[in-house]
């Protein structure tokens, strides 16, 4: 496991100075008005515009994105140029599935720790509504052969080989949400750990209803100051996450059918995260940059930890990533003032909490490093989570970091953790502190 507690002591501190995100837009029928780069620009330019330094001062731009559009390869570079960071500002895009936004922040963190950069714009974006439909492999093969058949008889023969089923599109989003190693959809992995820790349907629905309830209250109390409104070309504006429902109750949620394991399952569309479009951007700075520009950091990003586990139990990723992180910093669960655990699925978050409560499970997996205990609900996802707000996969990691920092600031408390599970069987966790 990560040895280098000592090495980390000598590294330069890194501050989360500010951040902004777009509203998360629930994917409806068809692609949304805004592309990934549009959303990135909307959040990024508002963020940069309120800084005391010019965009050219940014040393690099790092973005996380799982499925950029076909005209958006290395979307970070497009963002750097369109945001006015200048032609000489390098930029790259990272992909760690649901944690891509957090991975981008981690890359920024390391660059500043090492002394490579002073100011980094990092974040994530996803427009899941823009996920493409692909032609089937059979169809692509057929088109290739058609293009190479030059004569009329050859073309007629090719026409004879065309089959209706060739036209059935491959839905990239569904493929992306299915683990190709174990052949399970993400929802089914949640079913597996729900079963393992005996999470009931009612518990999951209660958790989901609470997520909406908290998100709604937070909207009403203006706790989403990180959101930058979006304007379209038809006189509409969107100033809040569009997936939050005021009518989400346990009773109504109970009526939904299981979405992944028919009939007997626990996981429904109502107690899962939503498919959304959105971007979240963070500004990370070294101590030099903070004093040079007289910045007021939200929090210090102390450390980030990655971990991996059985892809069939990917939902327990937060436990696997957070445990060594806390152990290294000699912290217990109760030392963390606020938590953001991504709500991929209600049952999955509840399974994580159950795992931490289960001393023998922790002992078995983490041995001497085990950290066990209870996370109080009033310290967890206080303003709702992905079940209500949405989960644009590339963006979520950055959103969690930003929001936990803002909650720490609001509550004037010290420590926060943002953590998420990652499709393919990984977990990521970040520790933030305010002085």
């Amino acid at each position: 496991m990560a040895l280098p507690g000592a090495r980390r002591q000598s590294e330069r501190p890194v501050f989360l100075v500010d951040g902004a995100r777009t509203p998360f837009l629930k994917a409806l029928a068809g692609p949304g008005f805004f592309s990934s780069i549009d959303l990135t620009i909307a959040a990024g330019r508002a963020l940069l515009q309120r800084q005391p330094f010019a965009p050219e001062e940014v040393d690099q731009v790092i973005m996380g994105c799982v499925m950029p559009g076909i005209e958006e390869s290395n979307i970070a570079r497009l963002a750097a140029l369109r945001l006015g960071c200048g032609e000489t500002t390098p930029a790259f895009t990272v992909q760690r599935n649901c944690a891509s936004g957090m991975q981008a922040a981690d890359c920024a963190l390391r660059a500043i720790q090492r002394g490579d950069s002073e100011l980094v714009l990092a974040g994530g974006v996803e427009t899941m509504s823009h996920a493409p439909l692909h032609l089937s492999r059979e169809m692509v093969t057929w088109i290739g052969q058609w293009n190479s058949s030059r004569t009329v008889p050859a073309r007629l023969r090719m026409l004879g080989r065309l089959r209706p089923q060739f036209l059935k599109p491959v839905i990239a989003l569904l493929r992306g949400l299915t683990d190709p190693i174990v052949g399970l959809s993400m929802g089914q992995t949640a079913e597996i750990i729900a079963r393992r820790f005996a999470i009931t349907r009612t518990q999951a629905d209660e958790f989901a209803a609470a997520s909406h309830h908290r998100a709604l209250a937070a909207q009403q109390e203006d706790h989403f100051g990180e959101i930058v409104p979006l304007f379209d070309d038809a006189g509409n504006f969107i100033a809040q996450d569009t997936g939050v429902r005021s009518d989400s109750t346990v009773d109504r949620l109970a009526r939904l059918r299981p979405a992944f394991d028919p009939e007997f399952g626990t996981v429904t569309a109502g107690n899962s995260s939503q498919i959304s479009d959105g971007a979240a951007l963070l500004l990370l700075a070294s101590e030099n940059a903070v004093s040079r520009w007289n910045l007021t950091p939200l929090a210090r990003i102390v450390d980030v930890q990655w971990a991996a586990l059985d892809p069939r139990e990917m939902g327990l990723g937060p436990v696997f990533a957070t445990t060594p992180l806390l152990h290294r910093h000699k912290l217990a669960l109760r030392n963390i003032d606020y938590w953001e655990i991504n709500e991929a699925f209600a049952a999955q978050v509840l399974a994580c909490l159950a795992a931490w409560r289960d001393a023998s499970y922790c002992k078995q997996h983490f041995g001497a490093e085990a950290v066990t205990g209870e996370i109080a609900t009033e310290r967890l996802n206080v303003d709702g989570g992905a079940i209500a707000l949405g989960h644009p996969v590339g963006a979520t990691g950055a959103r969690l970091l930003l929001h936990v920092a803002r909650v720490l600031q609001r509550q004037q408390t010290k420590r926060g953790v943002a953590t998420l599970c990652i499709g393919g069987g990984q977990g990521g966790a970040a520790l933030l502190e305010r002085d």
């Binding site: 620009i41 330019r45 508002a46 515009q49 309120r50 369109r82 006015g84 930058v228 409104p229 304007f231 379209d232 070309d233 038809a234 006189g235 509409n236 504006f237 100033a239």
Partner: protein
Amino acid sequence: MTEQNWRNWRIRIDDGNIAWLLLDVAEQKVNVLSSDTIDELRAVLDQVQTDRPRGVVIASGKSSGFAAGADISEFVPPPPAAQVGARLAIIHEQFDRLARLSVPTVALIRGFCLGGGLELALACRYRVAAKDDPATRLGFPEVQLGLHPGAGGTWRSVQACGPLAAMNLMLTGHTIDASKAERIGLIDRAVPERHLETAARRFIQGESRPHRPPLLARLTGIGVARPVLAEVLRRQVRKQANPEHYPAPHALVELWRQHGGSARTMLRAERESFAQLLQSPQSQQLVRLFRIQERLKEAGRSERFSAPRVHVIGAGTMGGDIAAWCALRGCRVTLQDRGAKYLAPAFERAHKLYRQRIRDPRARQQTLDRLMPDLAGNGADRADIVIEAIVEDRDIKRALFAELEPRLQPEALLASNTSSIPLEQLAEGLSDPSRLVGLHFFNPVASMRLVEIISGRDTAATAANRAAAFAVFLDRLPVPVRSSPGFLINRILLPYMLEALHLVTDGVPAPVIDQTMRRFGMPLGPVELADTVGLDVCLSVARILTAQFGGEVPAILEQKVVQGRLGKKTQRGFYEYRNGRIVTAATSGASGRDAEITDRLLLRLLNEALACLREQVVADADLVDAGMVFGTGFAPFRGGPMAYLRSRGADELRARLHELSAGWGAGFRPDAGWDDPRLWQHQQEGPNE
């Protein structure tokens, strides 16, 4: 390699024996085809005929562009027709020689190529132009000066691209880019800038094939097709422009109809027609206005203020459209209002404007990226200019300024788009009132070119100059105005509109009044104008201005407002509207009262204009004319109200005022300004009237 230099031309013969002939007109920032330049062309062509190079490439020696048209200053005042004819004959002779050179000739076009410059290019055998340079535009703007091409362009453009495309180009005066020019056959090849020289060489070496106009375009020009097509064109032009107001387009169609079959007669007729148009009062006024525009733009060059950061507060019709326009012109703009719902309509209008104006989707994206919503108002902290366009309320504006001022950059300009509140009142409470300037745009911002630059008592000259430079950067025309109620345009326009409403009260139907003034040359009649502006707005301006300057608000205006009939925006005002169009049945034909109506309306306007000049609201009569033409669309071919005054004669008009004041009251009492001829006489060297 040999070189030879003249004053305005240079020839360099390269290793391949190609002559590169560079046009670089002395003592000019842009190439204009002055008489001097044309006279030298004779010697240049003599030289070419002696040297017998393999081919000639004509290009610009300036970075600013290929060539603009003729040197307009040579036409002011217009020389006698015979002299013009003689001048044109020389140009034609040299261009014909160029066209008949035995070696191939190529015009290499980078940057603008307009009017006479395009005619020079058309006299070459081939033309290549840069397609990736937005400054490369080709066209015949002569019609905007009441003229048509006069250096062979009417013949050669039709030969190059067929009558329809050529006529379209010459009749509209619009410019086109290289790709479009290639499509219609005006040039042979549109290439990326990096290949211009190579392309020119290939044409001379005979390795590139010239562009041919499409078959249909060639057919429409010959034999029986011409009179038919000419008739169609004639009808279209008649619909677009009244021949009494704008004779040039009609003359152009007629020229082609009669002589389009023969180069020799068409070229001769072109010279005669051009010389004749040049003498017309309409053209003289349009040329004069063009020169006033140049003067206004020149005034905006005393300060550098390009692509500033702009912060606009208030996203209503004016604020939102000003912000969108600034971004279109290249400024980085933040647009602030109290809530997202106030910003959203402004972004919708901006999207619409950009769809209309910007064809390249990437350029459109970049423009949208420059226009940023800013609910928190952070943009003010770093802006070079902050434009206030919030509600017309003195106290609210003052409160805003008080909050704003400490956050501004030390050099930042503070501008208000107020249309009625004196600047001195807004400046009260500012710790540095010298930076406050009025920047009064007109609606719709994207099409009204006038901006009143208003200086209050404390406004620093540099602030006003910077505001003017900013307006020029925005491709608007800055008219410096001293702060006083209504400033210039609203103050002059209001008595005219109110008088129209008095006429309505007296029983003259609104359509009769409006049609009379359209026949005079206004784009919109005064009653329609009132409906378009909004009767509530008219009433509030009327109250402010009548309180200041006397006169009475017509009761009918108050009634309409009380009834909630506010004009176009409520579908009902003096007219009824459906989908923004008048549905009330229009009466047609002359009323027989044209002269009376015109005099009553215009004399009120002129009387107020003289009052403004007497009070030195603006410096001279040309500014009044420019303001009214570019701010309200006042009949451009008449040269504006002061030019109209001069053409009618001050004595006659004053006599009419006395007559009218007997019947229609104090509004017609001649202003003291009528006694001072210096006020209404023109300041520039202008046409003799």
